[in-house]
């Protein structure tokens, strides 16, 4: 649609404007305001007036300025070239903006999300006469060494169509015609490698599937204790300094998703720079390729306009869904959804809406639900399997989990990794609390995990959780009467839990070996700690004093196995287990004789 004047500015109050003389403007239409060409979106229509939220600083807009309608909704541009890029909240490529306006982002500049002049090597996978339909894959482009970009028909096409014309294998730009499809009833579409999709609308799928495969993150506390399924949703709440961002970074680096979309929503500029500088140098342990080859970054830092912060979450999940439709498993990190909720609150306040709890608009829970519902393990329109897993950080004010964003988020996610301030203060990372966290996916991923661990995972997990629960009770007693009042058998539980925390739950994100832990190593590590508990308990029953067990050399080996044994040599743990058995036997025999 041609650009046209749809009205004039009536009032400016921060990032929310009122416009008058509105003719045929549509809800959620993308507009440009004044000659500064500030991007905005129509959020309310009332008589001949409209409310517009603008995505850039409103300074300089005056009443009477023109509003230009674009005829489109705020949409994401989807096509080859997204991977490895960094965008702001409304999908403007930041590298490109830098060449346009220098080190600071000036107003009113625009650039397409992907490079329209770059030629990609396209390989067709259908030929003239083939039956296709909406979402069908018609060819591929090698987007990065790691990601094969599958070119699809738009989801808005009819279900049954025929290929009328198909491009030969060769180099094409994203706007070049690569195919013509027709439904035989007069609808003919020209297909290019690029699609546009309105960011606030979920992309359609054929069906939902079960969530039985875990997303392996390499973080032991997550994988073993509180697993997340591919297609699942999880919230990470924690006050400032408890390590939300560190946990998000670790998961983004090491999880086994095909594509990562990392959304820095209202967070620190330097943190995004860290990701941007670090990821290209990190090597994925599974493919041996750079992590940037599977990552899309969205950086809408806290000092960038608040409306774009609100949009950034949707921009991110739209790109995630696009790659899901190709049959990939995508993980999306949103850091932090609280900033997004606060953006909603700020905009709602400017629109003078009636607030509900703590000034948040009454539709906050609906919006949170809509966002998390876009996750899932899906059968795509082309019949492939793909998933979008959502890992949302929450920053509760004052670290108080009873505030509205945490509470509403809890209603719509099925796993919860609560970060604990006292663990973070002791530099116990990841500071995921084992008392407050939960995962509803445990039963769903049980058979997958048991298949990896000779049916031991589920039982071992249950046993260690029981011990941790017992420890909490015992600690309460210790606080009242001191550790000496407990019998050795109970003190030993404290001992084992403390070992479990240092040797298993803690993980050093900066250590070459420890930062990623393979499934095999996790299973063995957990097993040896439980073995230590069993053998130790037997020994104590025989009368061996706890001090002697604690001083065994092998305990130090267990405590340091996370650093000393690499993922490839997980079998080394079996040797420690042998040593453990021998030491315990020797110790036991001393007391047998007495």
């Amino acid at each position: 649609m041609q650009e046209r004047i749809v009205g004039r500015v009536k009032r400016v109050n921060g990032p929310v404007l009122t416009a008058k003389g509105i003719g045929d403007a549509k809800m959620m239409e993308l507009v440009h305001v004044s000659e500064l060409r500030i991007v905005g979106e129509i959020v309310k229509l009332n008589g001949d007036e409209a409310t517009i939220q603008v995505y850039e600083d409103a300074t300089g807009i005056a009443p009477g300025d023109n509003i230009y309608g674009s005829g489109m909704s705020l949409s994401a541009e989807l096509g080859p070239g997204l991977i490895g890029n960094i965008y702001d909240g409304i999908q403007r490529p930041l590298e490109e903006l830098r060449t346009l306006s220098g080190d600071f982002i000036s107003k009113g500049i625009a650039a397409p999300a992907v490079d329209h002049d770059k030629a990609w090597h396209f390989v067709p996978s259908v030929s003239v006469g083939d039956k296709v339909g909406r979402g069908s894959i018609i060819g591929t482009v090698q987007e990065t060494e790691r990601v094969e970009h599958r070119i699809m028909l738009a989801p808005t096409f009819p279900e049954e169509m025929t290929v009328v014309n198909m491009a030969e294998e060769g180099d094409y730009k994203v706007d070049d015609q690569i195919a013509i499809v027709s439904d035989g009833k007069g609808r003919t579409e020209i297909v290019t490698m690029i699609q546009r999709w309105p960011i606030r609308v979920p992309r359609p799928v054929a069906d939902h599937m079960d969530l039985s495969t875990p997303l392996i993150t390499g973080l032991r506390v997550i994988d073993t204790l509180f697993p997340l399924s591919k297609g699942g949703t999880v919230a990470i709440p924690g006050g400032f300094g408890t390590g939300k961002t560190m946990t998000q970074h670790s998961v983004a680096q090491w999880c086994d998703a095909d594509i990562i979309v990392y959304i820095g929503c209202g967070e620190r500029g330097n943190e995004m720079t860290d990701v941007l500088r670090e990821f290209p140098h990190l090597i994925d342990p599974r493919t041996g390729l750079s992590l940037m080859q599977r990552t899309i970054l969205i950086a809408n830092t806290s000092n960038m306009p608040v409306s774009a912060r609100e949009a950034s979450i949707y921009t991110g999940i739209t790109m995630a869904e696009y790659y899901r439709d190709m049959g990939y498993s995508v993980a999306i990190m949103a850091d932090s959804t609280s900033r997004w909720a606060e953006a909603l609150r700020e905009l709602s306040g400017r629109m003078e809406e009636m607030p509900a709890e703590e000034g948040f608009p009454a539709y906050l829970p609906t919006r949170i639900a809509q966002f998390y519902e876009r996750a899932g393990h899906m059968k795509t329109l082309s019949g492939k399997e793909g998933s979008v897993s959502v890992i949302g950080a929450v920053s509760p004010p004052g670290g108080d989990f009873s505030e509205p964003v945490t509470q509403h988020t809890k209603r719509f996610v099925r796993a919860f990794w609560g970060l604990d301030r006292s663990l973070a203060s002791a530099r116990h990372y990841p500071a995921i609390s084992w008392t407050e966290s939960y995962s509803e996916y445990v039963d769903e991923v049980k058979s997958w995990w048991n298949g990896q661990s000779q049916d031991k995972w589920f039982d071992n997990r249950r046993r260690i959780m029981e011990l941790l629960q017992k420890e909490v009770r015992l600690q309460q007693i210790v606080k009242l009467v001191g550790p000496d009042a407990l019998p050795d058998s109970q003190n030993f539980i404290l001992e084992v839990c403390s070992l479990f925390k240092t040797a298993f739950l803690q993980q050093n994100a900066f250590d070459e070996i420890d930062r990623y832990c393979s499934i095999d190593k996790q299973v063995k590590m957990l097993a040896i700690i439980l073995r230590y508990y069993d053998l130790g308990s037997d020994a104590i029953a025989k009368g061996v004093p706890l001090v002697k067990i604690r001083r065994l050399q092998v305990v130090q080996d267990i405590a340091r196995m996370r650093f000393n044994i690499s993922n490839d040599n997980a079998d080394e743990i079996d040797k420690i287990e042998l040593k453990l058995e021998r030491s315990m036997m020797q110790l036991g025999s001393l007391y047998d004789e007495q």
Binding site: R11, E35, R345
Partner: protein, 474 residues
């Protein structure tokens, strides 16, 4: 409908004509806000000259603009304004500051006007004080260690060039002394660098400002300091603009002149109070404790103006000071600050009471940029694990102390006694230091080892065997 290109040209010429106009007669004055009706279309955020009945000129900024009326906030207060006698002149541009490095050594008010009587050097470079967001792709990740000479900071919450590290303090504690000590001692190792200091005071008392001036004078850095003072008796609204003015100059010094700029802002609590005041006056919907919903964004617009840019030598390091109301770290001001800044240095009333200077509570303090600025080649190879171990052991001390307060110290195990001893040593010999004491990083780390050597070696699981071999003296 009019052709849009003609329309645009017409409007531009209109604007140029209208810029010269002056309007008289306000329709309403409410606190710092002045409303005026029947003006030409005025741009949002435009700078306004307000001419009082007595002829004095004050500055203001457009907060809300519509067809019917304009709402202007007057930075220098509305005392003495009358409805018919007030005139306004809309300048058609945002609030700017003329920047030049000759402002170093001068004292200005919150708007950047001279405060010491003498005229300011002229500048041709007028900058919008609101600044524009730095492109994250243009940033350079900060990694250069700044040695402050203060053990607990250098050892456990290392300050990095380009970082924003606030001091969370409370009324009556030594935050000003600490800030002054950092200014005196801060140095980058292994290189001469061109330091400059920008000092912004919001709503603090004259004696606090005087303390800093004297301390800068003593150290002989006064010629390298630009001061923006908006003291307690200045209009409250001026405080909302003071940090922005100060940072506009800091950006010029850092990114155009290549200086390493240290920005000290005290007290951010007063800035937030002013935000709340103006928001309430405008009848906005409040969020927590009456503070406006956009306080996070406002604070971010200040704090995010620190950092380094690729290919430019300078940097902006921020040390904002804020006093936590009632020492409550979960109060919205420290809370929102902590979510934006790269860590925090937290003062502890109890340690202050026990005469420990600086009374920094290591456990709740943090430096997020520390991980990439320490270790081999930057400080010393054992630094990362050592600080990690100090945190872990000191947190254990807290547990033991809690236990001791319930069951009595005599009942503690031998190991727990060791922890008590470690805790004492750590607080008295490591954290505590003289007001003029400048410790090198090596001395700091050695003291850390001395403290850890009190504990048995098998308790030190965050350290590698080699490190223990090399440094442990227990």
């Amino acid at each position: 409908m009019m052709n849009s290109e003609d329309d645009r040209l017409l409007k531009e010429s209109d604007k140029a004509l209208l810029r010269g106009r002056q309007y008289s007669g306000a329709s309403r004055i409410d606190g710092p806000l002045v409303y005026m009706r029947n003006t030409h279309p005025v741009g949002y955020g435009e700078l306004v000259e307000i001419i009082a009945p007595d002829g004095s000129i004050r500055s203001g900024q457009v907060l809300d603009t519509s067809d019917d009326a304009v709402c202007v906030q007057c930075f220098e207060g509305t005392d003495g304004l009358s409805l018919p006698g007030t005139r306004m002149h809309f300048l058609g541009e945002p609030l700017t500051l003329g920047v030049t490095d000759k402002m170093l050594g001068r004292v200005m008010n919150g708007l950047g006007k001279s405060r010491d009587g003498a005229a300011l050097p002229t500048s041709v470079d007028e900058r919008d004080v609101n600044g524009v967001a730095m492109n994250p792709t243009a940033r350079e990740y900060p990694r250069d260690f700044i040695q402050t000479g203060i053990s607990v900071i250098d050892g456990m919450m290392t300050l990095i060039q380009g970082q924003k590290l606030p001091i969370f303090s409370g009324n009556g504690m030594d935050h000003n002394q600490l800030a002054a000590q950092i200014v005196r001692q801060a140095k980058v190792r292994g290189g001469k660098s061109d330091f400059a200091i920008v000092f912004a005071a919001m709503g603090v008392k004259y004696d606090v400002a005087k303390y800093f001036i004297d301390s800068f004078e003593e150290t002989g850095v006064l010629d390298n300091v630009a001061m923006f003072l908006s003291l307690a008796d200045d209009p409250s609204l001026e405080r909302t603009i003071t940090p922005k003015t100060a940072l506009t100059l800091a950006e010029h010094l850092a990114f155009d002149k290549g200086k390493q700029v240290l920005v000290i802002m005290t007290d951010m609590t007063n800035y937030c109070e002013s935000l709340r005041e103006i928001s309430t006056q405008r009848g906005e919907i409040p969020s927590r404790k009456g503070y406006p919903g956009y306080m996070y964004s406002s604070l971010a617009e200040i704090y995010e103006r620190s950092g380094k840019l690729m290919g430019r030598p300078g940097s902006i390091t921020q040390l904002p000071i804020l006093t936590m109301p009632n020492d409550d770290i979960s109060h919205p001001i420290p809370d929102l600050t902590g979510y934006i800044t790269e860590g925090q240095v937290v003062f502890d009333r109890d340690m202050h009471g026990r005469g420990i200077y600086p009374p920094i509570n290591a456990l709740s303090s943090l430096s997020r940029l520390m991980k990439d600025g320490i270790g081999e080649g930057m400080t010393r190879d054992d630094h990362p694990h050592l600080s990690n171990q100090l945190f872990a052991s000191y947190s254990k001390v807290q547990e033991v102390r809690n236990l001791a307060s319930v069951i009595g110290e005599e009942e503690l195990t031998e190991l727990d006694h060791k922890y008590m001893e470690f805790g004492e040593f750590f607080e008295k010999k490591f954290v505590s230091q003289g007001f003029d004491e400048d410790r090198s990083i090596e001395e700091t780390l050695d003291r850390g080892w001395e403290a850890l050597s009190i504990l048995p070696a098998e308790e030190l699981q965050r350290l590698t065997e080699e490190e223990i071999e090399a440094h442990y003296r227990g």
